[in-house]
Symmetry: D2
Subunit: 353 residues, 4 copies
């Protein structure tokens, strides 16, 4: 199941960065859902390079084609395959990298795993793989909208700087996708300095799902926390995930973090909307640690395939901070995870939610 | 797949806290592995209540029986079922809780999900479910030992206190299972104060796998990070997980966190032993955020099943800090995840590792 | 998934013939279904040895214990584990068979697959493994009854003799479980002659599901035909399966076998209730080819583990025709398959059927 | 998992008959296998319409494109997506069928299952879905060839006529793909008469795998018989499957059908190469019952969507006997099933076979 996520709403991506194309096969989408290809394209546009001065300047049109599963604008209940052709392939940029393993990248691990690899642009390990996730996420969002669930997300930390507000409406108004307009300016300034130093910087992305009724998710081995954790940590460059109170809760006492409930509302949300692995009707809140992008312009020491090391500067166009491009991917993975939980609960109880 | 973890090394737990028993079915264990039931029992003893003054004083013998899949001390390659009978069931303690939803607990979410629940001791949501995980983990550890992989773990933070050393040999010498003997004493003192206040406190558990060769794990949707993240977040009371540099790495630059590799060794381990979702031969390092135990002695406001709230004090014997009991469970989940990755890689390449 | 059947209604059996016990873990049973352990026991009694003069005379009480997932007689929605302790283990009977591979049996294949085996009574390859299937099938039948689906079955052929009627009410009145009382007498006489010759004989079992609405099952790779075919061919000693018109339909023309439908009823049922892999509201009709039992009293040539052959007579108590004991197992597998299809359809459409 | 087959060698088809295209996603193909696109195309050419006077005269070029997972002619170990664009879409032919349910077809079942359908050419229920299976099967055949396994197949029965020989070399020399040249002529004559009567006729296809070592497949729930049975019954228009002796074995005694083994060879093959669900080193022999094609030119009574019936003749170009086109599909499904079993055994034992 190496390239598949989900049990009932199953998303399988395919494609190498510099091959003919990338895309996704989504099986299990219920029939009768209205799909507007423009909605899918808009999500892809949020993910693609070249959106702003603080993202890589590579040009990728990322035009999506729906090849199957949708007829006259409505899902058939059959597998939906969506394809994005690759373009602007400056494969030559990568010739120098054929015989070295870039630090922080998956080059060496791939070589050891498979014994063979497509070195051009990272091949399958490229961030381009997330194109398929975002397209699938757009379907999941459309499906969830039908049962009153919506998803928002943004960058809430860059380096040591934090966002202090959650104005989700302003997210698309700034290049870093921060829900705090004031913090956004500071984030961007820091990223520009980092970019000018040919370096990269990390951050934290927060995703929130609203309108999830109590009862979605499974207890024990497939807790909703676990599914969301897997979803987030399957995104390239993520190295941490927390739900609700997360790591900070470790310093508290149970009498503080047990969210008091009156049968309708919670006075706090340390559980992040999930109790015992099952949604509890509060907002589902997830934060993801995004490491500094491993692709940087600075010269670095690299191991050579045949042994020894050399110092190489990676040509190409890099993202100084990938958080703004992780946001739509993380939203997509949240949507896919919840769509799966929704269908599992329908199977269990035989009713809409 | 609600109670199953893993694709090839598949672990399915069963059992309610106050039903006849709890246990686990493990399918996919390779044949020919020598199993000593005493090794399984030792792991269960590390998990069970009543081990020390800082764990709950409930008495549970937790004697394991291997019902299938092992013949003359050797695995047959067939499903291994292990059963632990429940005992010391003071179900009456829970009568008062039949009609209320405890804050922080899964009571309300279960009720909404299933429409019916076994309220006694949390039923399926009880920490007793982890008995099966630990038994399965002992099998996974035995299997991994055969290919040179070992797993250690301990409590590295309680409240605001941190461990500064990683002397894994001292872990079993102190009640909190801390790899820093000095910090352990401070951890324990804090926990005792918390216990006396009828409250609980959180912490962080760290698990390390040594000897994993490069090439285990999958890229994209089933990254080893994602699998380990799911494994950890499936453990009761966990609300965060990080790999290698984790959240702290967000404040760094890529030129600092790209682990330099000379073809044999890494000068740092910000990746936590996993690059692009695949093991890179460095130690695999995972940290888990453990929330303060939701079961506390202090009176709390609880929602009533029929509406309204009341203040109730939960009778029973509680853990003031569950970190020392999470350690063997988290080790087990790490072992199960890696055993699965090992078999997947064998399938892919057709050789021992 | 070697010992698991089903996607949402998941049945995993465990246990060796002469180990401590056999049983089953059933995950995905919806909550709120009333379960009477007597119903499960009655199904197990239909499967067990020693029921009549034409079944093996081994004595196995096969008393079932529900260990988890049922509380106060109602399913919780959590995993249901059911255990049957082994008894009457005349393991000594099998000592002579430790070093030989019985013809027709799985002995050699197991040895080559696993490199190790529990030779006593066939170990995992024993028909005792079906105990767990029958117990799980009883749960599936209870679940299906709630949506109006019922399952009947019987032996419709032994040797060259055929049943000409389908009086399902008489099935439990004769030892061979034939729905044609007249044919039953002939079947039994033939089996008795075979038994007296220390030999065995094959037959055909037919299973019918009534009340399945149109729309269950999946098209393409997971057609309901395919699922039922797998279910039946997973039963020991089966070597063929056909649906509706089956093999005999090959001799017909499409103008004869295209079941004419008026929107409510079909004038024929060559499709066996399944069109394009999806139920079409007609009765689902499946027939299973049961080979002559491989365990016979006659001396046979057997390959020796170290090379060469010898002639050995297998001590023990054998079934001259296993059809009557296959009937409850095949019914169980039909029920399990349909319960899974039911839940999958609920997930797809979000309503009861 | 509705459109997916396999656990480790996973094949997922997609596409509607008259949509933009059909194809397949194959995940789990081991890295390092040399793939010649011409080999895939040759298999597709064996499946496509218009090959001979006894197949439908529709023109479909069925040109395959490998979109991912293959680099410089070698598999990468990453998902392989193969796409075939649809052409020659005479969708207008189907306008008359929008409001009726064709007898024997899946039209009504689809409508009830999904509530919406692409009526053009059967949409997803069209035989065109098998394009993806054949492409995936070509990969599986290439993988299996590397471990010495080869697969042959042919039509062995049409109507009441039987093939008496198994000259697999002559299969591609006659239009019906019969391994008995003499029988082939009779088969073809019968089919031509049937075609001229605007009708269709059924038959039996036999598939044989040679070189499978002992030990592949699983016991109990996932027996190799069960997997192959599911594989075959997932092919459109199949309504029966048998392994080795199959249904005819019912008339025999165990003393006749227990294949005698001397440690190297079997004197008979009633088991069809599988004992206890596991390969036993003999040839694997499977026969599939193919019903008369449901698409016929004769006028037929059809149920109308709004109620009532009418007599309609289906325009279009039909196959009078689909056996010759089922042969490559059934070979593909056999190859896919065995490739999966091969990888599962590698996972279990950690060695090539």
């Amino acid at each position: 199941m190496s390239s598949t996520f989900g049990t009932l709403f199953r998303v399988s991506t395919f494609g190498e960065s510099h091959g003919p194309g990338v895309g996704v096969l989504v099986d299990g989408v219920p029939p009768g859902i209205t799909i507007d290809v423009a909605d899918i394209q808009r999500e892809l546009d949020r993910r693609r390079p070249g959106q702003s001065a603080i993202t890589t300047q590579r040009k990728e049109a990322d035009q999506v084609e729906i090849v199957s599963g949708v007829f006259e604008g409505v899902t058939l209940g059959t597998p939906i395959m969506m394809l994005v052709r690759n373009g602007d392939q400056r494969s030559k940029d990568y010739d120098a990298l054929k015989e070295v393993f870039r630090p922080g990248h998956a080059d060496y691990a791939y070589q050891e795993k498979y014994g063979v690899r497509d070195h051009r642009g990272g091949g399958r390990s490229s961030g381009r793989e997330t194109v398929g996730r975002v397209a699938a996420g757009a379907l999941a969002k459309a499906a969830l909208a039908g049962v009153g669930v919506s998803i928002v997300g943004g960058t809430v930390r860059v380096g040591a700087l934090q966002a202090h507000r959650r104005d989700w409406d302003v997210v698309e108004s700034n290049a870093i996708r921060c829900p705090d307009a004031e913090a956004a300016a500071a984030f961007i300034a820091l990223i520009e300095r980092t970019r000018d130093a040919l370096d990269s910087i990390g951050g934290v992305v927060e995703i929130v799902a609203r309108g999830v009724p109590a009862g979605w998710g499974d207890p024990t081995m497939q807790k909703l926390d676990a599914q969301l954790g897997a979803a987030m940590l399957s995104i390239p460059a993520t190295k941490g995930v927390e739900i609700g109170g997360g790591f900070a809760m470790c310093e508290r006492n149970g009498s503080q973090t047990n969210d008091v409930f009156d049968g309708e509302r919670y006075t706090s949300n340390f559980s992040g909307g999930i109790a015992g692995g099952i949604s509890n009707s509060a907002d589902i809140v997830v934060r993801v640690a995004v490491r500094p992008a491993t692709s940087i312009g600075k010269p670095q020491v690299m191991a050579k395939k045949g042994g020894g090391t050399e110092v190489v500067a990676i040509e190409g166009r890099h993202d100084p901070c990938i958080c703004p491009r992780v946001v739509p991917v993380a939203e997509a993975m949240m949507a896919i995870t919840l769509a799966d939980a929704w269908l599992r609960q329908r199977a269990l109880r035989g009713r809409e939610k």
